[in-house]
Symmetry: C2
Subunit: 603 residues, 2 copies
């Protein structure tokens, strides 16, 4: 038996819609101000004239907005709209038959072919247009514009729109205890702003446990006066919503956030879901933690590695709903204190469904909130964390130091660009790479330029600008005398800061460096030289970096005609303020160890 619906199924097909992530299971990511380009196949059996539009809205609004799609040929249609505020958006595609346009087109072709007996056709047109005794001459003047067989996607697709800082920003990581606590940090904020930083990220600022506290250089037992790792969160003084008294008070913190707002530097906090043995939750909610059949609590481990100073919560415990709510309340607490950016510690060891819920919950009230995923794991998990709501992610960048590795890395990241944004930290408190340890200052310079120009968001952890590169032991990526376990005396006087400042300024002045997907690698005829162009509406930058930290290297940068640059142009080196004559084709390049060109194309 034929289907039992009253009307036949729709005849218009809408297929191969783009953008879409995992068949619509997850939202596509976009940034405020983006023009969202939408494509789809729209077609129907037979020869009727079709039309289509994109309907879109912020998810909270009832009213759909509407923008027409245009046919590109072969049933492919395209249109676009702008997203002007952060948060969840929806869009769908609507297509319909224009029966009037169909009729006018057909009668036109018949008249052109010299057919004269058209009375049946005219009787149709008279009904369609509501015109009595329609003549051929009148018919040829009529126009289409009605909608029948209106068809939509089965359900709207979603976009997650972030504020601009999710895509473009310069981050500086510092341990506030090494800078005189919140007051000391507040004092250097104007200088950090002048250096061009947008975000200052603080490792956990909460009371640190004393039981099993780690000593200097990760010693199993702390000595008297050792401050412990800030990631061993919680003591009798409080947990995730409390402040380590060594840093200041909550009022000091509020003043720090406020000072940042004044000078244009945002404070980002760390969200690390783990508890020292002294965290209040262990007494208040013992049911939230893993306990062995013999009654012992399980500390964190990744066998055979053991982390005796922290306990992980048990996301599968019976009381999981209260646990989830409590964790959300922690984030909400800091949102209420003005924090809009969170770096999340090891999110890949917690359930992705938890992140999807938590981030959506926070962003439903505060769509400006952005979450940075500290996930160094396999691609499936890294991209899934992006899909479920993380605005940014750490990457493998620190370990990609050869030309081929960088090429492969960027290819992978560009392939994920519909949902994933990278944050290229050049170092972290956990990652001192062999390349930096061996290469010294030229290696630091090369990596800084790469981070700041390959990815719109990048960062450095303080010490980088001082070329700190002594590992705790050969082949280790841990720093000797790591700041994770002791207090340093830090000052903003590193020798690399002038280059940092120059790059941050260049990034702000050149829109091409504020986008991810506008990257094209250039052939250089040298394994040591990497070159790439970024082109964005009237802004074009070409970067060449000598990856060799020990020797001068020479080669060419071959600019393909497909980039759309002029046949010949002035290439102004923004690091040296010199202008070279460049052209489509081969351009000679010679660079000192770790040296770079950052060239603005000037027509």
């Amino acid at each position: 038996m034929a289907p039992t619906a009253k009307t036949p199924p729709p005849r218009i097909q809408i297929q191969e819609v783009w953008p879409i992530v995992d068949c619509g299971r997850y939202p596509t990511k976009r940034t405020v101000g983006d023009t969202v380009e939408v494509w789809a196949n729209v077609f129907r059996d037979g020869h009727d004239v079709l039309a289509a539009s994109i309907r879109y809205r912020p998810a909270r609004e009832r009213r759909w907005r509407d923008t027409p799609m245009r046919p590109l040929g072969n049933d492919r249609w395209a249109g676009s709209f702008e997203v002007d505020r952060p948060g969840r958006w929806q869009y769908t595609i609507e297509a319909w038959v224009d029966r009037k346009a169909t009729w006018v087109g057909e009668i036109g072709r018949k008249v052109q072919a010299g057919q004269e007996e058209l009375s049946g056709e005219l009787s149709e047109g008279a009904v369609l247009f509501g015109v009595e005794n329609l003549t051929i001459e009148e018919a040829l003047e009529l126009e289409g514009g009605d909608r029948s067989d209106v068809t939509s996607l089965p359900k709207p697709l979603e976009l997650d729109v972030d504020r601009e800082r999710a895509l473009f920003g310069s981050w500086y990581e510092l341990f506030p205890r090494s800078w005189g606590g919140f007051e000391g940090v507040a004092e250097i904020l104007p200088q950090l702003a002048e250096l061009g930083f947008d975000v200052v990220y603080l490792p956990p600022i909460h009371p640190i446990g004393t039981t099993n506290r780690k000593g200097r250089n990760n010693a199993l037992r702390a000595k008297k006066g050792d401050p412990g790792s800030p990631w061993a969160i919680g003591s009798e003084l409080g947990g995730h919503d409390a402040i380590d008294p060594a840093l200041g008070t909550i009022d000091d913190f509020d003043r720090l956030v406020e000072r940042g707002r004044e000078v244009g530097v945002e404070i980002a906090l760390d969200f690390a879901i783990q508890c020292s043995p002294d965290h209040p939750w262990l007494k208040e909610h013992p049911e939230w933690f893993h306990r062995r059949p013999d009654g012992t609590l399980k500390f964190a481990e990744n066998p055979p590695k053991r982390y005796q100073d922290i306990y992980n919560v048990n996301f599968d415990c019976e009381d999981w709903r209260d646990l989830w709510d409590a964790l959300r309340d922690v984030v909400q607490h800091w949102v209420d204190h003005g924090v809009r950016a969170f770096r999340v510690d090891n999110p890949h060891t917690k359930p992705v469904a938890f992140w999807e819920w938590l981030i959506a919950d926070i962003r439903s009230r505060t769509p400006e909130a952005i979450f940075l995923s500290e996930a160094f794991t396999r691609p499936a998990m890294m991209t899934t964390l992006a899909k479920v709501g993380f605005a940014q992610s750490y990457t493998y960048f620190t370990w990609k130091n050869t030309k081929w590795e960088l090429f492969e890395l960027m290819g992978q990241i560009l392939g994920w660009a519909e949902c994933y944004r990278p944050n290229f930290f050049a170092n972290t408190p956990d990652i001192l790479t062999e390349y930096l340890a061996r290469g010294g200052p030229p290696a630091f310079e090369a990596r800084l330029v790469l981070a700041a120009t390959l990815s719109p968001t990048y960062g450095i952890y303080s010490g980088f600008e001082h070329f700190e590169n002594v590992p705790v032991r050969e082949t280790s990526e841990e720093y000797l005398d790591s700041e994770k376990y002791e207090v340093k005396e830090r000052r903003l006087d590193g020798p690399l800061l002038p280059l940092v400042q120059r790059l941050n300024l260049i990034r702000r002045e050149n829109p091409a460096l504020q986008r991810l997907t506008n990257l094209t690698f250039l052939e250089t005829e040298s394994d040591a030289l990497v070159a790439y162009a970024k082109v964005e509406r009237g802004s074009a930058v070409i970067v060449c970096v000598n990856l060799d930290p020990f020797s001068w290297q020479e080669g060419v940068a071959i600019v393909p005609a497909s980039l759309g640059l002029p046949p010949a142009y002035g290439a102004r080196d923004l690091l040296r303020d010199e202008v070279y004559g460049w052209r489509i084709g081969r351009n000679y390049v010679a660079l000192p160890p770790g040296g770079s060109h950052v060239l603005r194309v000037e027509a």
Copy 2:
């Protein structure tokens, strides 16, 4: 508030499943005997040991079958199963945590790292394995094998499995009225079988209308004795379920089908949904047809083209359900008379939802039924017809005559291979290409070899083997004195038949020619020479064709090492029974106008 379900959401992710068509909206196509390879990303937060399996079944069976997946690294898993009967199949992926294997792995790594205080761990293991007072030595002997956190795809994916003839077969199209009706066709079936044909396709066999009947060469008025076009279906003698008395009776037809079964040649019918003005349905069901406001019936047209001898049904009429049922009953009628293959006329001008319903309905009772789509239209519609159930489709092959066109065509078809199978007719009653009209016999030879070796299914329309190539007028693709409008006297004595027979035999003996996706084009350093290899489990064939129908051409066929053929081998030309020495790399080729090598690789 956290989600309100009793248990937390699943932690295992199953993503990027393959094969899948349009996010699971349509089934993937496979052929009986195929090994279905399945891939997916399977992963979970944390470090637990995972396992996964494919569950699959014919859709009618309750019981799921099970086959393990194996991890390929980076969270990618793979497995496979065989489909051993036609019809709809389902498959899903199931993944789980093996908690016992996780525990055994962890305690092993701890022991290896020299950790000795493991009493808490052993208390866990004792509970997990139900062993009292577990010792370390005993623990290291334990094995995994339990399932917790079992997770599946949200719903099963579907496969549409066809019998082998849907993928591989040689078709011959003939107008039975030119061969002495059903009796005459029955007489030549043994000879067609000997020529290696698998399917004989007959244009419509129903009574032909007399009103507005077309005359010879598509004249608007038939002369006395003109038989009319078989596609003007229906007269006072009956409609789509009746037989044109000029061809025989229903008993004759049954005998024809039976004779085909005896000699191994299958009869395929045409399903053309259109009615001559004399079709019984116009009187019995006037509501099924388009009527203008002035009361006139609308004949078929594609303005400014008019088809005054046929009326199209109105799929949107109020009584559409009865119309759909009646059309299905027509197909069922011929299924009941033993027909298992239908060539469908112009399916792209009927609703795709109708085809999806009709084909599924017929195949639910007769999964051996296959439908060939005669759609020459844009790619979106051609592939959608494949998705909704057509086992095969006509293609643009006839119009692709240069090397680059063939390369592009095959790339497109291979990109559709998960749901679309081509049938390469070298000509049809509607398509006499300029290449054949100008190129003469060498052009016919080249096109025959291309059709029979590029696609596992190919066909010719009778006349091809006689090199018939006179168009009704210059630039027309219609034949002069087209068989569509008159009766011919046909005999199986065309000069091209020995090559046809040879090719059909070669196709049967070489499994590499029975598959679509095993194709690799070879570089030839000549625009006139096209070369390609097809490799399939122990069978490898290399084909070289001179596309120039006027001159000898020479070049090379460059065999890449990636094909996996021996460094040097004998290449036996199956058309000439000569053996050449071929190797990886450059192989000299010289061919006469339209000539070919069909080379079997002999180790």
